[in-house]
Amino acid sequence: MTDQWVSFSRFGDAELVSLTGEIDLANAGEIGKAIVGRITEAGKVLIDLTTVSFLDSAGVRLLDALVGDLLVHGTRTRLVVGERGAARMTLQLCAFREDVLTTDLERAAAELK
């Protein structure tokens, strides 16, 4: 059900969660469940938001919860967000933790080495 917004793959030794399209109140909950099911065992997680065209506060809540959980479990994680665009704007407006945001995948993977 959530395949249109979320897909999973490996990027190096990290679990890569790729989000795409519009993430809002309507789908954030299901997307969250799908992601949690896949990353509990992962040691490193990269969440790619570069093709997310819309992100609302429900999406922010989802990311906030995910990042919080991962950090609690000692899983290292990065959010990849383009320098501009809807997702970046929303996260900025919410004053999301800058330290987990990166602008491209390569750099994010490097930061988790």
């Binding site: 809002d24 109140l25 609302d56 809807a86 704007m89 929303t90 407006l93 919410c94």
Partner: protein, 822 residues
């Protein structure tokens, strides 16, 4: 004490006892006869042996006498020891009865115990016949008294009977109780038609019911002519004098007929008594009427005649009064309806059933008008021919007796022209035909005038409407992206003349727009013409450097020359489309209503002065300036919108402001119509005129969606496309999309938390400067948001937009505005 005279012969006491002129009885206290004299035995035919020791006195009485004996005789005797002159009928041996008078004395013993009753019995045969005579006389006296009573009652009834019909009814009921007649009938004289008409009878199977001419040889007509009572004592007499009565007398078994003329006047030496009717009553068996009775019969004739005379006068007066009232009421009710068709219909409805059972109104106006009511419908060919005759000759046609059409046909004329005809079938009227004709002619005159007025009204109304339509339809400025004008004109309710309300909008120069709404005093074609003149005057006076105040001064001068425009009211405003500055002035007109993009609507109450050309009011014209932000709406309107008989005017203002405010997000097209519908409805007594100016290139998108999170994406996609189409910069666009999504999510999660079927309205407008979005839900507001997640949503709205307002007057409206230059 005088010594008893010695008789010339020795009177044997026994013989005296036996043959005394009265009967003697001696009985025991229980009535058993123990001694009886010969006289009694002779009278009654009993033998002594039959009575003595065998019968009691009461056994000799009839059953009525026995009861009387029991209830009166015996108790009295016991109480008083004697009774006197008690009447008993003694039953004789041959069963005949002997009327007697009885005296008895109760003899008591030493211990006062009853021992014997001694009774004398007098033969009362002679005495009883005298009493019968008395009784008979008393009966006669009673009859006479009863007759007088019946007559008194009838006279009282006659006095109370207001109409001829009721008098006739009272009279016809008199002879049976008064004289013992078998039946009676009454005939009335109709002098106008020279007829005698049978109107009522206690036994309609008797007699001849045809109307008869007054000259008829029939008995009733003869007696009416002669004016004196006539008694037909027997069939033989009838055969001799009035053969027309014979058949009926034989058929209904009558032997005596009394024909009583009902007369009035009499004392008037000029004409002698006038006969108004004839009362005929008859008896089975030959009946002799005594002098007394005949006197009473004549008296009845006079009383009835006078009552009839009075009733006729009263009938005439009442009929005249009714007809006058009918005419007055007809004119009044026709005046209530101005238009031709309703008026024509009402005329027919007035006539049927009140004065006619069928009526047809045909008018040769326009395409022809035909209104019909009642029935049955008369013969079409006869009617048409009568209508033609009436129209051609312009004279009313009244039916003669026996006319096969039987209808009145009245030509309706006005200003020397026959408009058409009114045909009616009326109940045949026995009398007053002449008065009736003049009434009908009067009715035709009034109807003709009323219909002609309605025709003229239609004509003028049509002209006025055409004129008004052409004036109001004049081209209003369109196609300028900086503003839009929406107008609505609604004529007063269907039967009222056009009023003098108007609106106008025109460009003074390419950047200056003028708008006006005004109201001319009066109605109809004059008001419409004046309105056109004023409208032109405003267009002529307006100029770059003039402004509202000087323009109104110019109109004051204009009104001095065009008197019909005096006291007209005008609201006039100019808008600088570059700066957005509004300048306005009101001459006696209702204040314009302004809805700014944010906040509540407000009435513009400055720059007010008196109506145009007012002599008593303050006509120092001033003007007021204020900036109109893009997205403002300004409403000018006439008093028809506000004033309703059922609503105080301040409520009207309140309602207008509220409804205008509620619709600030509604599309401009249809807004003025919606306001008019809501405030005045369809049935209104005044014209309504509205003009709404919407300022700023108000491009807008409006969507309604259910309280369903799945629908947010769809909304967003439409909104995105719309923003893109308007060239809204990406950053602004994303911010608007985010804020809008959050506001909708907020409405779903909060406003409609308990209502999955709630609707959310989203309106976005875009101008060169900014994008504005309004998100409205009608759910419940729960005070400060404690939900952290929603708190983030609100934070996002605040962060992404420049201006955010919450309006919680009716549900929640979030008004968000973001500037495009960033």
């Amino acid at each position: 004490m005088t010594q008893e005279l010695r008789l010339p012969w020795d009177d044997d006491p026994d013989d005296l006892y036996e043959h005394a002129p009265c009967g003697y009885l001696t009985t025991l206290p229980d009535g058993t006869i123990v001694k009886v004299n010969q006289t009694f035995l002779v009278w009654t035919g009993y033998t002594r042996a039959e009575l003595v020791g065998h019968r009691r006195f009461r056994d000799l009485l009839g059953s009525g006498g026995q009861i009387y004996h029991e209830t009166h005789y015996a108790p009295l005797l016991r109480m008083q020891d004697e009774v006197h002159e008690m009447a008993f009928e003694v039953v004789c041996a041959d069963n005949t009865t002997l009327p007697t008078l009885v005296n008895s004395v109760l003899a008591r013993g030493p211990a006062k115990e009853p021992r014997a009753i001694r009774t004398t019995i007098f033969n009362a045969t002679e005495r009883r016949s005298y009493e019968n005579e008395l009784l008979h006389a008393r009966r006669r006296a009673e009859d006479s008294e009863r007759r007088v009573q019946v007559l008194q009652e009838i006279v009282a009834n006659l006095a109370a009977a207001p109409t001829e019909a009721e008098v006739a009814e009272a009279v016809v009921r008199a002879p049976e109780p008064a004289f013992g007649a078998a039946s009676s009938s009454i005939y009335l004289v109709d002098p106008e038609r020279d007829l005698i008409i049978a109107v009522s009878s206690t036994d309609p199977t008797t007699g001849n019911w045809d109307d008869m001419p007054r000259s008829s040889p029939r008995a009733v007509a003869r007696v009416a002519e002669r004016g004196d009572l006539h008694v037909v004592g027997s069939v033989a007499e009838a055969r001799k004098h009035f053969p027309d009565l014979v058949d009926n007398m034989l058929k209904s078994g009558r032997n005596t007929v009394v024909l009583l003329p009902l007369t009035t006047g009499g004392s008037d030496d000029r004409a002698g008594p006038e006969t108004l009717g004839v009362l005929a009553f008859s008896f089975t068996g030959e009946r002799k009427l005594g002098d007394n009775e005949l006197r009473v019969v004549r008296l009845l004739g006079q009383q009835a005649g006078q009552a009839l005379d009075r009733a006729r006068l009263y009938d005439d007066a009442r009929r005249r009064e009714e007809r006058t009232a009918f005419l007055g009421e007809t004119t009044r009710t026709l005046d209530e309806l101005h238009r031709l068709l309703p008026r024509a219909r009402r005329l027919v409805d007035r006539v049927v059933p009140e004065i006619a059972d069928w009526a047809l109104l045909q008018l040769s106006i326009g395409n022809g008008i035909r209104e019909e009511s009642g029935g049955p419908v008369p013969d079409a060919a006869l009617l048409e021919s009568a209508e033609q005759r009436a129209t051609m000759a312009s004279v009313p046609i009244f039916p003669e007796p026996g006319d096969p059409l039987g209808c009145v046909v009245l030509p309706l004329t006005a200003r020397g022209r026959v408009l058409g005809t009114l045909s009616m079938r009326m109940a045949p009227d026995r009398r007053g035909a002449a008065a009736e004709r003049s009434f009908l002619i009067d009715l035709a005159d009034r109807a003709g005038m009323a219909l002609e007025n309605a025709r003229l009204y239609e004509q003028e109304r049509e002209t006025a409407r055409t004129l008004q339509r052409s004036l109001l339809a004049a081209d209003l400025p369109r196609g300028d992206a900086r503003f839009a004008v929406e107008t609505h004109y609604q004529a007063a309710g269907q039967d009222l003349e056009v009023g003098g309300d108007w609106f106008d909008a025109f460009m003074i120069n390419k950047d200056r727009l003028a708008i006006a709404v005004g109201d001319v005093v009066g109605r109809g074609i004059d008001a419409a013409t004046t309105m056109g003149q004023l409208r032109s005057a405003i267009r002529a006076l307006a100029g770059d450097e003039v402004g509202p105040a000087r323009l109104l001064e110019g109109l004051d001068r204009f009104v001095d020359r065009v008197e019909t425009a005096r006291m007209a009211t005008v609201a006039y405003a100019e808008v600088d489309l570059v700066t957005g500055e509004l300048v306005y002035s009101c001459a006696g007109h209702l204040p314009p209503l302004l809805q700014s993009p944010v906040g509540l609507p407000e009435f513009l109450l400055q720059a007010r002065s008196a109506p145009l050309g007012s002599r008593a009011g303050d006509i120092r014209r001033t003007e007021q300036r204020l900036p109109l932000p893009a997205g403002s709406r300004l409403l000018l309107y006439t008093d028809g919108l506000i004033e309703r008989r059922t609503r105080p005017i301040d409520k009207g203002f309140e309602l207008l402001a509220r409804e205008f405010g509620r619709r600030r997000d509604a599309p401009l097209p249809g807004l003025t119509t919606a306001l008019a519908d809501l405030l005045v409805g369809r049935d209104h007594a005044d014209d309504v005129c509205l003009l709404c100016l919407s300022l700023g290139n108000e491009e807008r998108i409006e969507r309604s969606l259910g309280a369903d999170r799945m629908q947010i994406a769809q909304l967003r996609s439409e909104l995105r496309a719309w923003l893109v189409a308007h060239g809204v910069e990406a950053e602004c666009r994303d911010a608007v999309l985010l804020a809008c999504s959050e506001a909708v999510a907020n409405a779903i999660e909060h406003g409609y938390r308990d209502d999955p079927f709630g609707m959310i309205d989203v309106v976005a407008t875009v101008t060169a400067e900014a994008v504005e979005v309004r998100v409205t839900d009608r759910g419940t507001w729960r005070g400060a948001v404690t939900d952290v997640a929603r708190g983030r949503g609100l934070q996002l709205i605040r962060e992404s937009m420049d201006q955010v307002l919450f309006d919680r007057t009716d549900g929640t409206t979030v008004i968000m505005r973001r500037s495009r230059e960033d």
